[in-house]
């Protein structure tokens, strides 16, 4: 079954970054810089949140400093971070200085206890923080991260596009597997010759074909064999009552 699995990623060449379509508004500068200055291959797709994927295991969120300092954002931020940590081994957060409007004097950021406690909590959960002055620098950081991951053999190495309706449907099915991120699903749709090959695959085959960690592959393996009688009994009961 390993004959269909792609070769390990090359250590050089342009880096690939997947971008959620929701990142695009207000990120023209960043995208231009990624493409032109850093020669990155950008693929815009529809992810389940507004983030970037720079490798098989790393997602990057971008937030302004004032975003992190605002108390009303914490619940949303926590939900986002939690869901990313389920899908990725590594979660990075680029903290960007707030933009000043033209003609406005740059106001120094007022650091609050609340802001410090947010940073502390993020660091304690293993989120990697990166600091940026603006879009240009953020683009550099994204490219640096992608290159670093490429060097470690974790770069996105499968074709970014999935052609044909059947393969598109397979991709959607793979995305509905628990703990599977877009790159895993993309890798699966290129590396497995059919959906059945994944479903009947060993843990090792899933790990290799999905370009994922062993524990994630185990989780998928168990899920595919999970027997769901109890649930069905419950739903039929509730319908009868």
């Amino acid at each position: 079954t390993s004959s269909s699995v792609s070769e390990p990623p090359a250590a050089s060449g342009p880096v690939c970054i997947l971008v959620d379509s929701r990142c695009l508004s207000g990120a023209v500068e960043l995208m231009t810089s990624l493409r032109q200055r850093h020669a990155a291959t950008i693929h815009v797709c529809s992810l389940d949140g507004s983030y970037f994927i720079v490798s098989n295991r790393t997602a990057v969120e971008r937030h302004s400093q004032s975003d992190l300092a605002a108390m009303q954002n914490r619940k949303r931020l926590a939900d986002k971070v939690n869901s990313l940590q389920r899908l990725f081994e590594r979660v990075c957060l680029i903290v960007e200085k707030d933009r000043t409007k033209a003609g406005e004097a740059a106001r120094p950021f007022q650091r609050t206890r609340y802001y410090d406690s947010t940073l502390t909590a993020l660091v304690r959960t293993g989120v990697r923080l990166l600091w940026s002055d603006g879009s240009e620098q953020s683009a550099g950081l994204l490219a640096d991260l992608a290159r670093l991951e490429q060097r470690k053999g974790q770069g996105i190495a499968v074709p970014l596009e999935v052609k044909g309706p059947h393969r598109q449907q397979a991709l959607q099915l793979y995305l509905s597997l628990p703990s599977v991120n877009y790159v895993h699903a993309l890798s699966m749709s290129h590396n497995f010759s059919s959906i059945a090959q994944l479903i009947n695959g060993s843990i090792e085959a899933i790990q290799k074909g999905g370009c994922m960690s062993r524990s994630r592959a185990e989780e998928i393996y168990r899920f595919l064999r999970y027997s769901c009688d109890s649930f069905l009994m419950n739903t039929s009961k509730s319908k009868n009552s």
Binding site: R111, T120, V123, R128, W131, A170, S194, I199, C228, L232
Partner: protein, 217 residues
């Protein structure tokens, strides 16, 4: 060989305290920690680290001066990273008007090359506020700590089966009553599926699972 050092590398201060390297004794940072209600214990044998916190993290402080003076701080950072401490290793970096031109290079070294956590501060006052927060926050619940959400798998299986073209909720439930896992369903022959969903759908389901997807197989 120094036999004392290794145990102190992992010395955890009591709650509400920090352990600081002796050289910080008369600093403004320690002064403002005191104002913030954090008690300091001084210690000569902390190794490279400047502070130990009760939440089992340690801090190396890189000052504006260190950065401007050149590369000496880099060697210190490498030693810090290589010290076999079981603590979470944090690096506070003074990002000031004088040092800001170097900040991105420092960040690259600390975060990307060494894999350490960097937190910028404008100076010792901000650093002491941040440290106080780390000491205080220790007992509190972390909002970013993933709640151990034991996902219910049944709805996920049902949702996945509905990704098969032509299979809605009703057919999916009927199929799963006979073949309770995705694995069983995928390996069911068309004639086994036929009496549940009819001949056409049975063919379609079987072929969906088995039709080639990858080009280079």
């Amino acid at each position: 060989m120094d036999t004392k050092a290794p145990s102190l590398l992992n010395a955890v201060p009591p709650y509400g305290h920090v352990i600081a390297s002796e050289k910080w004794r008369n600093s403004s940072l320690i002064q403002s920690l005191k104002c913030g209600g954090v008690k300091t214990l001084f210690e000569n044998e902390l190794g490279v680290a400047d502070f130990h916190l009760p939440n089992k993290s340690c801090i190396l402080y890189v000052s504006e001066c260190d950065i401007i003076a050149g590369n000496g701080y880099k060697r210190k950072l490498v030693r810090y990273r290589n010290s076999s401490s079981s603590f979470q290793e944090l690096v506070l970096v003074e990002n000031t008007r004088l040092s800001e031109q170097y900040f991105s290079a420092v960040q690259k070294f600390v975060v990307l090359d060494l894999g350490l956590t960097l937190l910028p501060v404008s100076g010792q006052t901000e650093a002491s506020q941040l440290i106080s927060q780390m000491v205080d926050g220790e007992g509190r619940e972390n909002p970013f700590r993933s709640r151990s959400s034991s996902l219910l798998l049944d709805p996920l299986v049902l949702a996945l089966v509905q990704h098969v073209p032509g299979v809605g909720r009703v057919k999916a439930l009927a199929l799963l009553q006979h073949f309770s896992s995705i694995h069983q369903l995928c390996n069911a022959a068309p004639d086994q599926l036929e009496h549940i969903v009819g001949q056409a759908a049975a063919q379609q389901i079987h072929s969906f699972f088995h039709k080639p997807t990858a080009a280079g197989s």
